[in-house]
Structures are given as structure tokens and as C-alpha cells.
Amino acid sequence: MEESVFRLPVGPQHPFLKEPAKFDFDIQGEEIVGARMNFGYNHRGIEKGCEARNYYQAMYLLERVCGICSHSHTTAFVQAVEEIMKLEVPKRGLYLRMVDCELERLHSHLLWLGVAAHEVGFDSLFMLVWRDRELVMDILEKISGNRVNYAINTIGGVRRDITDAQRKEILGIMKTLKQRLDYYAKIGTHEPSFVGRIKGVGTLSAERAAEMCAVGPFARASNVATDVRKDDPYACYAEMDFKLITSDLCDILGRVIVRVYEMIESCTIIEQLLETMPEGEIALAKVSRRVPEGAAVSRYEAPRGEDVHFVRSNGTDKPERVRVRAPTLANLEAATESVIGAYVADIPIAIASIDPCFSCTDRMAIVLRDRKRGTRVTTWEELRRRGIEWYGKNKGIRF
């Protein structure tokens, strides 16, 4: 007898989800045979908010798109604005931007590694990784003034310089962190309870990853060599010597390996940046508040993958249109597909393996009428009529 398929809804609110999103899994026994996703619960109107603010205000607003990759969003936006204005940012400013970018990658990947360890029930690793993450957070707080929203960027450069003492301190911490990361690489590949839980889970072939336009460490773990820092170098990445890490394992173990080795590469980049940092100005002295008419697309390798910003200006001091494409949007569909074939207990770690951020992703959701799935759209007039009827019937109130 053929086994029946059961539909398992997960979300919008669910203990494994840190933010609201909706998943429907078709399960046959314990095995997942189909998966669908839906999101649109986090619309905050940030793009529209940018249109009502000037470029400086929009920059700080866009920093709040995401709490982890806050520097990524401002840098992508600022790069687009600088392209429209044809500004040449001083080299020291670009180097300082890159230091922050790599520190952010370090703290984001360390956070993810801790979350991944927690999702598979390996809480000792979670605690240790997050303890070491504090080293990076402390540096970020010292050089920018805040742990989360660094606000280091400005149009035409950066706002704060680093002192020689800070430079030496960061170099010392990078040395410690490299040793710790080597140790985590050893645990990630040798600890039987961890490896046994994630090996062969959530597989996504290289062909499918490329077809579904996956980005970032998620795509690189499926052996797709894509990295904006190498493909389309921005800032001074073309001058840096670093390796593009890929893995042919195509599963969650591959994603752990890619992220851990990428962190070691980030430490190397930071060391190179601090050792070869040129002297000079950190930002352009005078930048016009009005941006000439034009449009630009900016690509940026955020910790989670490629972040794309589109800015169109109309000659005033306010942007006409700002469009944000966060990396999670590119990865979600591929992640949902990678769950197929896994067990129900693998859902949390399989979805978390892309490091999802639904708040970054959600821009606007349009509900299409789908009679087959029973989607209904209630108009404002109908809602009002029903309200009047309900109050008339139950409370005796006539409008």
C-alpha cells in the first residue's frame, strides 16, 4: 500500500525560526518529499523610507536592514552613490572600510557556527565559539563606537581612523583567532557527534545551486566558485592575496568547512590590510549634498553572499529609488529544495545552513489569488461591510 503524504506546516511562528517565515513540508513517514516556502511577514517599508530621506539619513536607515551585516548594506549603498557622483575615495578610507567588512564577516560566520552547533545540539561548541566572537565584537566596538551598527561609512570615505595602538591590538587578536579557528576546523571535521549529524544532510548539487542562483558560502559549499570579491572586485580587493574557498561535499558539513576556512582567509586579509595601510586622508573633505541625476548598481560580498543595491537619483538631495536585494532571497529557494530527502529532524539545521535573515529579505509581498490553494483576498469595502454587519448583529450598534 502506498504511504500517504502528510503536509507539515512550519511557521510563521515556530521555535526553530528566529524570524517569521512560512514553510510547508510534504512528509512521508519521517522523510521530506516536498517543500514550499512563503515569506512576507517582515515588511518594514525601508525602501520607501529611503525615498523620503536625504542620502545621509538613508545611509543610516539602510544600516538597520540587518543587524548582522549592517556594514554590508551601507557599503553597498555608499558605493552606488559614489559611483553616481563619480567620487574617488581616498585609499586609506577604502582600506578601513575593508577592515570593517572582514571583521563583520568574521563575527557573522562565528555567530553562524555557534547557531549551527546549537541547532544540532552541540551546545558546548556554541558557547566556545560565541566566547571567541566577543574578541571580534570588542574590536568593532573600539574602532567604531558600537557593537552592532558601526556607522563607519560616509559618502566619500569613512568617519573614523584607527590609531597605531588599535592596529597592533587587532593584529594580536587576529593571531589568537587564527589559532582558535584552526581548532574549530579540527572539531568541525573530526568530532564524530558533530560530523555524523551534518554529513550528507541538506545536499544540493553544484548544477542545481548554479541553476537556482545560490550565492555566498552556501553556493561555494556546493562547489560553485562565486565571490564578488574575486569576480568583480570592489574597494581594493584586487590588491589582496586570498583564496576562494569551495567544497565539493555539497552538504552542511561542506558549509561548515567553507565558513571556517573563509574566516581564516578573512584574518589573513585583515593582517594584509593593516600591514600595508597607506597614510593620508580617510574621507573626502567636501562632498555635495545633492547627487546628480543617474543610476548605479552596486555589488558587495556580504557574509551571507552577494548583496545588490540599486540607487537612482534625480538631482536632488533625496534618492528617487533604492532597491535592496539581500543574499537570503537568492538562497532561500535553493535551501528549501535542499531539505527534500532529509528527515523532519533535519529541518532546523538545513534551513539554518544558509544563515537566513528574513528581515533583510522581505521587501513587499503581493498576494495573488489562487483558487486552487484557497487564497482569498478581502477588499477594504468588504471588510468594512462585514464589520458593520457584525456590530449590528451582536452589539446592536448601527452605523
Partner: protein
Amino acid sequence: MLKAGIFIPELLGNLGHAPATREYPFVKTPVPPGFRGTPRLRPGLCVGCKACMRDCTAEAIEIVQVPPDPNAPPPEPGTKNVGKKFKMILYLDRCVHCARCADVCPKDAIYLDEEYEMANFTRDALRLEME
């Protein structure tokens, strides 16, 4: 190559370590210099250009002119304008601590202090007037 117990030396090593956390309300963590806390006004320096008000991301700043004191003695004839006085009303519940106000101020009249315990029980208590 899998190896059981690779984690044990680290766990044993941590037994002798001091805790990595602090007992927060009793032991406060000092913030590094340059921390972006609450914006403060040096009223003597403010010229009322309202550049901070214009650029504030969260629209949390209001600069208003303080009405002149009626009891103050009139300025002596021949002296120049004694200068207008301004005060800043800061809505701390909206402030995002980006320090744009301090950056954009042409007279360095705004600075950010190192206060980080800003929570309060009522919204009114978060409306700060500085003059």
C-alpha cells in the same frame, strides 16, 4: 578521520578558567573611548543652524530658541547683540545613536556621552531637554 573525545581537553582546560561573563547589574562593563551614547548639547556653542535637525535619521532632535528672560537687565547701549539662546529637545526613544548630529554640527556643539543604560519606564522620561 573521525576521532572521539577531541573536545575533552578543551572542556577540561576550561574548568580552571575564570568565568567569561560578568554579573552585569552589579559589575558594569566599561565602554571604550569613542562610544556612541546619548547626544548632548553644549548650549553656549549652539548657533541654531538646525543642521542636526535636518540630518537626524530618526527625526529625534528639535532645536528651539529659548525666549529671552524678561527680568534680565537690558543690554547696555553700544554693546553688540547678546546672542540668542537655543535648547535641544532630544527624543531618546527615537534616537538611533548614529552620531550624525555630532558630525554635521559646524560649531562642535553636540557630543555623545558614554552613557549606555538609557531605558526608562515612561516615554516622557525619554524626552530630554538640554539648555
